[in-house]
């Protein structure tokens, strides 16, 4: 399975190799991976999956926060509504992840659940849940500076997005 995915990605991009996976049980009880980390010399990237693009965006956000912190002990205590409108899907992905980084920087809010209330490919409305960083309970991992357009891919057919993060 892993080998298969590796080969698949080799075709999409020769520069990446899959390393880790995270699974999620979907509404039908089927185990499904949410995202995978990919390698890049200076930085880090992720590929996120979904049943639709909206879910892939939500999983990309989950992947982003998983890189930054151990989400196991983060509780859904607070929520933030985010509404974005951009020119295209790539720009929306860029803005979505960077807006979340901004929220983290300014409010120190660790987010772990992302409910897409509306998503149309160039705009979205999401409610995000999590809690404020508490050094006594939460472990931060890698600092992320920004999502980038570098090697960004939005695969509409397979509901998959790829983004490289500057860390």
């Amino acid at each position: 399975m892993i080998q298969g995915i590796r080969l698949l990605f080799k075709n999409i991009s020769p520069f990446i190799a899959t390393i880790t996976m995270r699974y999620n049980v979907n509404e039908y009880g089927v185990k499904m991976k949410r995202f995978e980390l990919i390698e890049h010399t200076a930085d880090m990237g992720l590929v996120a999956y979904g049943h639709d693009l909206a879910e892939a965006f939500a999983n990309a956000a989950y992947g982003l926060f998983s890189i930054m912190a151990d989400l196991g002990r983060v509780q859904e205590k607070e929520s933030r509504q985010i509404e974005l409108k951009e020119d295209d899907t790539e720009a929306l992905l860029f803005e979505w992840l960077n807006y979340l980084l901004y929220v983290f920087d300014v409010e120190m809010l660790l987010l772990k659940r992302f409910d897409m209330e509306r998503f149309d490919g160039s705009g979205l409305k999401a409610v995000c849940y999590g809690e404020k960083y508490d050094p006594s309970r939460h472990r931060l991992k890698t600092g992320v500076k920004s999502a980038t357009y570098h090697m960004m891919k939005v695969d509409r057919e397979n509901n998959r997005v790829q983004v490289i993060l500057d860390v």
């Binding site: 390698e39 010399t41 920087d105 991992k141 600092g143 500076k145």
Partner: protein, 484 residues
């Protein structure tokens, strides 16, 4: 990892050329500074394709350049240098990078390493408690939005005016710690909100503060002139513009992305998005970039001030006993207006240095009086396990690289690769066994930043020294490291 198989012509032991004929659309050839062994490793990724892509940018003069610490970046390679004609050229945020004015400064001291060695752990722990660092850590400074606007225009000068350091520090800072034409109204609200609580913090990732020992001198006269001697204690600070700089980069990548058709810029990579220097968008970016650069200089100045205070307190020293003068501060992610000789004529250019350091030769008017004859000091931070260097800029750099040289060791291993290689190991213990005390915010950073993840800084410096684009003065090894 796909190997890059494009054409590469060997010019000499340290120089390689990607001919203009490689891709239709290249305006100039690419020149890479590296030795043959390094080139094998460089070819292992697509950084050379990025050198070729940068050559597409309108107004690029002479060559698309890359230093030996080149590695794969966004749009521009890290280690890339590109100078654009001010009238016909473009400015590209990707040619500056996310961490605008990421840079490094080094302080000299009157202390001998052997005298303070047992105190290093205590010293590093004290610095760790005094200087905020790590993911999302805010600064100790409480500044208002009005103050922040002044930081964005005045840079290090604001810090000195407010009691963080001395006037002399400014003379020993590139651009005296502030570049002109910074307009805070062009920095978005989000950038300011991120920057406000983070002023006076080190950050995470490859940023660090080190207590170092000078372990080799290559040029006694120059070292003496810089106040450097073997066995001396130096302090090095590596930090940048924090969330404010990242947000400025993001905001203007969006702006630039929208105008590529308007200015008929047909570029091979969205991350290369650019705007004519003379356009409204180009001027706005440069003005916002100047703000972020000034913020970074102020940040390093404040951190240095706290470092001085802490070292003197822990070691019980007076300012005179400590010394603690700033040798120099250099930016290694920036675009600056400079005059350079091109085909015998002086031309005004915008020089992008993305993971590259300015290395002006002797006599340059921007150098402070005490270094004018020597050339500009260049600080090259290594990784925490090996060494850092103090170099001087040269005439050759002025003639070939728009007065530029390398900026560090450059990664060769991905962060995940480093995590894998570090699995089951205690990097902090390994370093302790070699006499290096490390206090890091997270063990993750320590693994990602472990020595094997970087190219050998000795080899990188040997190339720039061998090629003559800077010359070695001293080598420093870490005694204690504070890591974000």
């Amino acid at each position: 990892m796909a190997t890059w198989n494009g054409p590469l012509e060997k010019i000499d032991d340290y120089r390689w050329r990607i001919p203009k004929s490689y891709k239709q659309g290249m305006r100039v050839p690419g020149i890479i500074y590296a030795d043959a062994d390094m080139m094998k490793q460089i070819r292992g990724e697509q950084a050379l394709e990025q050198v070729a892509n940068v050559a597409f940018l309108p107004g690029i003069v002479n060559h698309s350049l890359a230093m030996p610490d080149i590695h794969w970046g966004y749009g521009f390679p890290i280690g890339g240098v590109a100078a654009m004609d001010v009238k016909s050229g473009v400015v590209s945020p990707g040619g500056v990078g996310y961490d605008i004015n990421c840079g490094v400064r080094a302080l000299r001291s009157n202390l001998k390493a052997d005298d303070i060695r047992p105190k290093v752990p205590e010293l590093i722990d004290a610095l760790f408690s005094q200087i905020p660092c790590g993911v999302g850590k805010g600064g100790r400074l409480r500044v208002s939005y009005d103050d922040l606007d002044r930081v964005l225009t005045e840079g290090s000068g604001w810090a000195v005016k407010n009691g963080f350091g001395e006037k002399e520090d400014l003379l020993h800072t590139e651009a005296e710690g502030a570049i002109p034409d910074a307009d805070p109204s062009l920095v978005g609200e989000r950038a300011k909100k991120r920057g406000l609580p983070q002023l006076g913090s080190l950050g995470s990732g490859n940023h660090f503060l080190e207590i170092q020992e000078v372990d080799a001198i290559y040029d006694e006269d120059s070292a003496k002139a810089l106040g450097i001697f073997k066995g001396q204690v130096l302090v090095m600070i590596h930090s940048g513009s924090r969330g404010l700089g990242y947000q400025v980069c993001d905001d203007y990548l969006v702006v630039m992305g929208r105008i590529q058709e308007k200015y008929k810029l047909d570029l091979p990579d969205r991350q290369l998005a650019a705007a004519p220097i003379q356009s409204g968008e180009g001027k706005d970016y440069l003005s916002a970039m100047a703000c972020a650069a000034n913020y970074a200089w102020c940040n390093r100045q404040v951190i240095m001030h706290w470092t001085r205070e802490t070292v003197m307190r822990v070691l019980g020293l007076s300012p005179r006993d400590f010394g603690g003068e700033l040798i120099y501060d250099v930016a290694h992610n920036i675009a600056k207006f400079e005059e350079h000789e091109v085909d015998g004529k002086l031309r005004k250019l915008l020089v992008h240095r993305k993971g590259a350091t300015r290395a002006f030769g002797p006599g340059h008017e921007e150098l402070p009086p005490d270094f004018k004859k020597l050339g500009q000091p260049v600080i090259v931070p290594g990784d925490m396990g090996t060494a850092s260097y103090l170099l001087l800029g040269t005439e050759t750099a002025m003639a070939e690289t728009f007065g530029s040289t390398c900026h560090g060791a450059g990664r060769k291993m991905s962060r995940k690769g480093a995590m894998r290689a570090a699995k089951g190991r205690r990097i902090d213990k390994e370093l302790a066994d070699r006499g290096i005390y490390v206090h890091a915010f997270g063990r993750g950073t320590l693994a990602e930043e472990m020595p094997e993840a970087y190219k050998d800084v000795d080899e990188v410096v040997a190339v720039v020294d061998g090629a003559g684009i800077s010359r070695k003065v001293a080598r420093m090894v870490p005694m204690g490291v504070m890591k974000g």
